[in-house]
Symmetry: C2
Subunit: 365 residues, 2 copies
């Protein structure tokens, strides 16, 4: 049973940390359910600001701005996981944060996340903690090469990732970490990547969307396709993995789980405690999309059942892809979603399209 | 061929006169296509303001505010037809107004509208102009009773409508017009009402959605259902009527046509030069809904083909219907759309739901 005091009524205000495209689509979904939104973002004119009731432009280290923001809202959510811990400490004293701190604690640290997944009995890439040269040597023995050395925490420091093709590269790789705690991850030979977008309500109900199959280009998601190339058994396994993660985190909201499909089963790549690019297809494939699903969950409402009604291919519009809009608008079953970003830089996500394939329906008049 | 100079690029700003629920849903659709919006509305905190980039709170007689508004936008559209002519005169000197003045001229005057429809060869209720007592007597001879005397123009004066059951009631009815030019309209015996939501692009392409069947309660639209109870021939007739109206007006945007279904064919009740409550079902029934269709048309983009992919029953949430939200959220195929209005007055449209009936699809995980 959900405590009625935790349920938001229409008219309540939802605070969203981060005003990029995910915050923007969350804001629209919140409005559709009668909520207003307040965006907190360090950059001026964030995409979400065009469709939000209020915007605060301030950094996450600005305590006064954080407090003023929290004062105006009834619940706080976020569009990205790398929110500084100090900011969260301030906010959680004032208003509920959903999804909660545990999801952030786990997903902000690669080592914590991998250990968490392993403890749940889920397969991950081989990994080992690396704090110094001795640990890196031991890690290389355990994980082998090729492998990749990453800082444990990512967030705003932006420290890099270094690929190791041979143990002799260890000193240079370690130097690149600049003393930050690190993790060595092995490569997983996989045939393709899928993801499950899953949701859990305040009273513990879990619902998952069909797994999508993801294709990346130059490290950026290019397309997500439903249905994915999976057997029914694999789909069920993927969904059960997501459900297990949600329950273990006592999660409230939408979470994305990236999964490698290998000859030896499914391997979790990473989790994202938020709506996810690979779930954008739900906007055209489901009655209740991932954005509304997240808002419903954090508002304490009943969540949708995840049913899918069409095959969809989501394609990201990156950089000057956005120049193709006039042609895309001519495709009758191509739903366009642009993010209102003024400048199209290379690699920047400017929007996406959902191409909808339905077995029924007829031409219009 | 559309003049490329008339086509809006993403990033352009759309001005919307009126910030009610229609302006709100137009604003969200505009954002989805990468446009920003500027709402002009006399009331403070209009529903559309929560999801718009800018809001001007000013009356339609405020010339300075109108000019300042027009300066910031690339095209002007509207969510209601009764915009004072003087305001339109100011705005059209500054920026294109779409749909254009002709559509407003025709739909702002009941006599002009009925005459326009009749001249197109479309059936309407019998009607006659009434400027004085002598014309009312003549009109009653032509139209008969029961009939209804209405002011020709409606807009902001809010003058009433008087039903005449007997010619002896003529003097009292005429007095109620307070000297305003009027029209006497006869009753049409009809089995049910349908409406066609139709669109026309800047280069003259017409697309119509399937006719919806409308049920009113206490004078307010209660439900719209697709498919409507019409033969294929009747549906085709209804759609052709809408197309004829669009072409005759050289229309750009979405228009609603209300039609009575009678034993002697289809009779046009009235036209609305804007998105229409009876077209809200398109949000869940079509890839491109009526709001996006309108924005595409006024932006000079290719419009959608109107194809429908599901059966839908749209139900308006009026007054305290909004208290049923918790139950409505439990229905898996019920899409909720609330308007962000703070006070639920009797008769006030607070939101709507679209119940979606699909022949395919499966339960979620």
């Amino acid at each position: 049973m959900t405590d009625p005091a935790q349920i938001l009524e229409p008219g309540a205000r939802i605070g969203i940390l981060g005003g990029g495209q995910l915050g923007r689509m969350l804001s629209v979904a919140a409005a559709r359910l009668g909520f207003t939104t307040h965006i907190f973002d360090p950059s001026s004119a964030p995409p979400a600001g065009h469709v939000a009731d209020r915007v605060t432009t301030a950094g996450f280290e600005d305590e006064a701005a954080l407090r003023a923001f929290a004062e105006t809202v009834d619940v706080i959510t976020y569009e990205f996981e790398n929110i500084p811990t100090a900011a969260l400490d301030i906010l959680e004293e004032l208003k509920p944060i959903r999804p909660g701190r545990e999801a952030l604690r786990v997903s902000q640290d690669r080592l914590t996340e991998k250990t968490f997944l392993q403890d749940l009995g889920l397969a991950t890439a081989p990994f080992a903690e690396v704090a110094d040269a001795a640990e890196l040597d031991a890690a290389l023995e355990h994980v082998g090469t090729p492998s990749i050395l990453k800082t444990r925490r990512f967030g705003y420091d932006g420290k890099g990732q270094v690929r190791l093709m041979d143990p002799s590269e260890a000193p240079a790789a370690l130097a690149a970490m600049q003393g930050a705690p690190a993790i060595l991850e092995g490569f997983v030979p996989f045939s393709h990547e899928v993801s499950v977008i899953a949701a859990r309500s305040l009273n513990g109900k879990v619902a998952c969307y069909d797994p999508a199959e993801n294709v990346h280009l130059e490290g950026v998601l290019s397309t997500s396709t439903v249905p994915a190339n999976l057997s029914t058994g694999q789909s069920m396994d993927a969904v059960l993995m997501a459900g297990k993660i949600l329950n273990a985190l006592d999660y409230v909201g939408v979470l994305g789980v990236e999964i490698f499909v290998t000859g030896h089963g499914l391997v979790v790549n990473e989790i994202a405690p938020r709506v996810h690019n690979s779930g954008h297809w739900t906007q055209e494939g489901c009655t209740i999309d991932q954005f509304e699903q997240h808002i419903r969950a954090i508002a304490g409402w009943t969540i949708g059942n995840g049913a899918r009604y069409a095959d969809v291919v989501m394609e990201n519009l990156i950089g000057d892809d956005v120049d193709r809009i006039a042609d895309l608008a001519k495709e009758p079953d191509c739903a366009i979603h642009l993010y209102g970003k003024t400048e199209a830089k290379p690699g920047r996500k400017m929007g996406h399209v959902n191409r909808v394939i339905r077995s029924e329906g007829r031409d219009g008049w």
